[in-house]
């Protein structure tokens, strides 16, 4: 009985991993009216990591790096060909757009910090 339960739990966990990391969409932070978005770089993630903005406008992303880990020192927007150095303890601004609708991913060099800018 315990064996069956452990097996079911492990299978359930696998299902959860697949759902959580691949299938479910994280909540998008919407730039409501404002096109100025502050992104905090701390504890291995971007907060907010997923940002939704309207198309056809310029967006200003202010990255504030609080994380001393060297992995956090750069943020790359591959699709836009942008690489930005983020000095520790400072806000670094990036102005992009107007962008065509789509998803523009951003990440650290090693793809461990990840986020996306969704233009709708």
């Amino acid at each position: 009985m315990i064996d069956v339960m452990v097996n079911l739990l492990a299978l359930g966990l696998m299902g959860f991993i697949v759902w959580w990391f691949w299938l479910s969409r994280p909540h998008l932070k919407q730039a409501s009216g404002s096109t100025v978005i502050e992104v905090i770089v701390e504890n291995g993630i971007y907060t907010p990591a997923h940002i939704e903005v309207p198309q056809g406008v310029r967006v200003r992303l202010g990255f504030e790096r609080r994380d001393p880990n060297p992995c956090a020192e750069k943020v790359l927007f591959d699709e836009l060909g942008i690489a930005l150095d983020l000095p520790l303890g400072e806000k670094t601004a990036l102005v992009v757009g107007p962008l065509t609708p789509g998803e523009y991913r951003f990440s650290c060099q090693m793809q461990m910090y990840r986020g996306s800018l969704v233009v709708k």
Binding site: D3, V6, N7, A10, L11, L13, M14, I17, V18, W20, F21, W22, S24, R25, P26, V36, E42, N43, G44, I45, Y46, T47, A49, H50, R60, G62, P68, N69, P70, C71, K74, L76, D78, G81, A83, L84, D85, P87, L88, G89, E90, K91, A93, V95, S107, Q109, M110, Q111, M112, Y113, R114, G115
Partner: protein, 744 residues
């Protein structure tokens, strides 16, 4: 807070009216004494007891953009200090974990670990608390990082470490509290493993950080060219101020032997300036009033005053540094596939860990729970996405920096990768193979004449001409300090020559046809002229009072190192083609002298791009070398466009590669560095792939059924910490690379 001056760059100002608005915003910030906004330069100077961040926040809140205009050197120092602090904190964390782990490891090795009963349980309770402290103090960031990432539907390195060590600690703690939960032979505790893994990972991260610092040495060297203080003239007095406080259009004093602080224009005095660090020009250049000077270059002999035209991040040197930095951050196509793998790597490892758990739970031998925990934990700990993700960018970083050391500015990782695949290099002639400055190369006087007299008369008659060849002759006479004679009745016939009265004599200067039109006998000179033309020179005959006086030949001299550079390209199997608008005879002569394989002459500038495309259609991977302005379409068309620059002129931003030193050796250097970098990336990727694809199955226990081999989680932790370090160390080997035949 002390009184200070801060310079900001302001963005988003669309009209002069915005100036007042931004000034108003700045003046409203508490502590600001004065604020002045320059609309033309889009900068603001603010004085007061203030922080730059407060000003930036206020400007941004007002709907504009702002950034501090700081010297790159100051920024680099801050970065280095922050990195050192972090390095120290990592070492401290590793040390604390090590102090707890070492005695436990020793006891385990010597079989001194007590049993889980009586006093033994008390001992283990102390160990549990000590290891919990280590997990919180030395490993706390992994747990917070993992949780934050999880909330964002993300999983990273922290996830694996936190899960691996957290599970080990929690399982051990449960056994400690309720030993009867598992059979007696499964009652293994893993407190020491969790602590040792945390110690090793922190130590590995600290060592990696040190090694990473070395990868950016090239850019540090460029940053090192910048000066920290400048001598400005304010209210008639010369005072030393930090470089950040130099204002636009301010007057600066440079004394002999000093570095020039920022870019500017000389307004008083003369000197020789050594620009070799930027342009590669070995001889110091003479500079006088109206001449431009570049920040970071060295003043040699004289003293002068200059007006600052570019400061902070706008100086040529700062822009070069920024360009190198951008390129170092960019990724070539080779990284895209790896990125896709790295992005899903951690969740996939989590799935593999769960599968490992299931297999050992259902099919593993007794004590089942001990095996399940050991293998699952080891899978989580050994997997290292960092080595994979780091493999490409770290090599690009060193490769681009290496190229910069050789005066080769590579725009991005893509160009760096492609340069190594070139099969054909197309060269423009003027200014690329040659100096781009026509000069008198040969003077052959007839009987009764000497060189000086011949050049004097030729230069006198050409004084009124605007033809480039005429300018070369006048420049040659001026260089020899000749005083030229007066000219009457000057007349120029395009494509033929000129005629005039010089000191009362009837003088003709021009080509063979011009002489023929005036029935001048050329005799031996005719043959000499043909020989000169065959060498790529343009001969002009001089006749005085109806008699040939000699030949003055003008040529655009071939750069001293063009031949050697082309030989280097040949050596690595690259075909070299010359593409020029010049006539076929001159082009062929130049090509022959430098060993060019094929000449395409008399091509209009607009057609150069089509010629490059034609080569590409023959499956050639084409690199085009030319000047960034006239050849821009051809440079853009080529697989890799190389712009020959003068170093300070980095307006050449259309090209993939800028050769700051104006030498063709840069092309060979770029290709060699590209090949070495791509090779290094492949080694890194191979290592990282092999490590993960062998390490994970072994950790999962694939060798156990046949050989009874299981990996110790502590060994896995050590291997994981070393794998990133190995990648960084391998990339650092590139720093020692020297292109064959390079001239540094």
């Amino acid at each position: 807070m002390t009184e200070k001056k801060i310079q900001l760059s302001i963005g988003g100002m669309s009209c002069a009216g915005c100036v007042a608005s931004v000034e108003h915003i700045l003046q409203a910030v508490p502590g600001v004494d004065s604020a002045a906004v320059n609309f033309v330069e889009h900068t603001a100077q603010v004085a007061g007891s203030i922080s730059a961040q407060a000003l930036i926040d206020a400007v941004i809140a007002g709907g504009y953009e702002a950034d501090e205009l700081k010297g790159t050197a100051a920024e680099a120092e801050e970065k280095e200090a922050a990195e050192f602090t972090y390095y120290r904190s990592l070492l401290k964390k590793a040390l604390v974990a090590g102090v707890v782990a070492a005695p436990l490891m020793a006891m385990m090795l010597f079989g001194l670990m007590p049993m889980l009963d009586g006093v033994g349980r008390l001992f283990w309770a102390v160990v549990a608390l000590a290891s919990l402290y280590v997990l919180v103090y030395s490993g706390g960031r992994f747990f917070t990082g993992a949780w934050q990432a999880f909330k964002a539907h993300n999983a990273n390195m922290d996830t694996l470490i936190a899960l691996g060590t957290g599970t080990a600690w929690l399982f051990s703690f449960l056994i400690l509290l309720w030993p009867t939960l598992v059979p007696p032979d499964a009652r293994h505790l893993y407190f020491e493993a969790a602590v040792m893994i945390i110690a090793l990972i922190n130590l590995g991260a600290a060592l990696e950080m040190r090694a990473r610092g070395k990868t950016s040495e090239a850019i540090k060297r460029l940053i090192g060219l910048q000066v920290k203080s400048a001598r400005v003239v304010r209210e008639g007095k010369e005072i030393d101020v930090p470089i950040e406080q130099v204002e636009l259009n301010e007057t600066l004093r440079v004394r002999p032997g000093e570095k020039i602080a920022v870019d500017g224009v000389i307004i008083e005095g003369r000197s020789h300036v050594d620009e070799s660090m930027i342009s590669g020009e070995p001889m110091p250049l003479e500079k006088g009033i109206g001449d431009e000077v570049v920040g970071g270059t060295l003043n040699k002999t004289g003293s002068f005053l200059f007006s600052a035209s570019h400061i902070g991040k706008d100086t040529a040197l700062a822009r070069i540094i920024e360009m190198v930095r951008q390129a170092q951050n960019s990724k070539p196509a080779i990284a895209r596939m790896v990125d896709k793998i790295a992005a899903v790597f951690v969740p996939v490892v989590l799935l593999i860990a769960a599968i490992t758990f299931l297999i050992w739970f259902n099919f593993g031998p007794e004590p089942k729970m001990a095996y399940v925990l050991l293998t699952t934990m080891t899978v989580l700990i050994i997997a290292c996405p960092c080595a994979l993700g780091l493999a490409t960018p770290i090599s690009i970083m060193v490769g681009v920096g290496k190229a910069a050391e050789y005066g080769v500015l590579i725009r991005n990782g893509e160009a760096l990768q492609r340069a190594g695949q070139l099969t054909t290099v197309v060269l423009d002639k003027t200014g690329t193979v040659t100096e781009g400055r026509p000069a008198v190369t040969t003077i052959i006087p007839s009987a009764g004449w000497d060189e000086e007299k011949l050049l004097n008369v030729a230069a006198s008659i050409e004084t009124g001409s605007e033809h480039p060849l005429a300018e070369a002759i006048v420049a040659a006479a001026n260089a020899r300090g000749f005083s030229l004679s007066s000219v009457d009745g000057f007349e120029a016939i395009a494509g033929h020559g000129v005629r005039a009265q010089v000191d009362g004599a009837r003088v003709l200067l021009g080509n063979r046809k011009w002489m023929g039109d005036h029935s001048i006998e050329l005799n031996d000179l005719s043959e000499v002229a043909a020989g000169l033309a065959a060498k790529g020179e343009t001969p002009m005959f001089l006749a005085v009072d109806g008699v040939a006086a000699g030949i003055v030949a003008v040529a655009d001299p071939i750069k001293g190192d063009s031949k050697a550079a082309i030989a280097r390209l040949h050596k690595i199997g690259i075909k070299v083609v010359m593409l020029t608008g010049d006539n076929a005879a001159t082009a062929a002569a130049v090509a022959k002298q430098v060993g060019i394989d094929e000449v395409i002459a008399e091509v209009l500038p607009a057609d150069k791009s089509a010629k490059v495309a034609a080569l590409q259609a023959k499956s050639e991977v084409v690199g085009m070398v030319g000047d960034g302005i006239n050849d821009a379409p051809a440079l853009a068309r080529a697989d890799v466009g190389f712009a020959i620059g003068s170093g300070t002129d980095i307006a050449i931003e259309s090209a993939d590669v800028t050769l700051m030193r104006g030498s063709l050796h840069g092309v060979a250097d770029a290709i060699a560095i590209s090949k070495a970098t791509v090779r290094n990336i492949k080694q890194n990727l191979f290592g990282a792939f092999i490590y993960n694809s062998l390490g994970i199955p072994v950790a999962a226990g694939i060798l156990f059924p046949l050989f009874g081999i299981l990996l110790n989680p502590i060994v896995a932790g050590g291997a994981m910490a070393m794998s990133s370090l190995t990648v960084v160390t391998n990339a650092n080997r590139l720093r020692l690379f020297r292109p064959e035949g390079a001239q540094q």
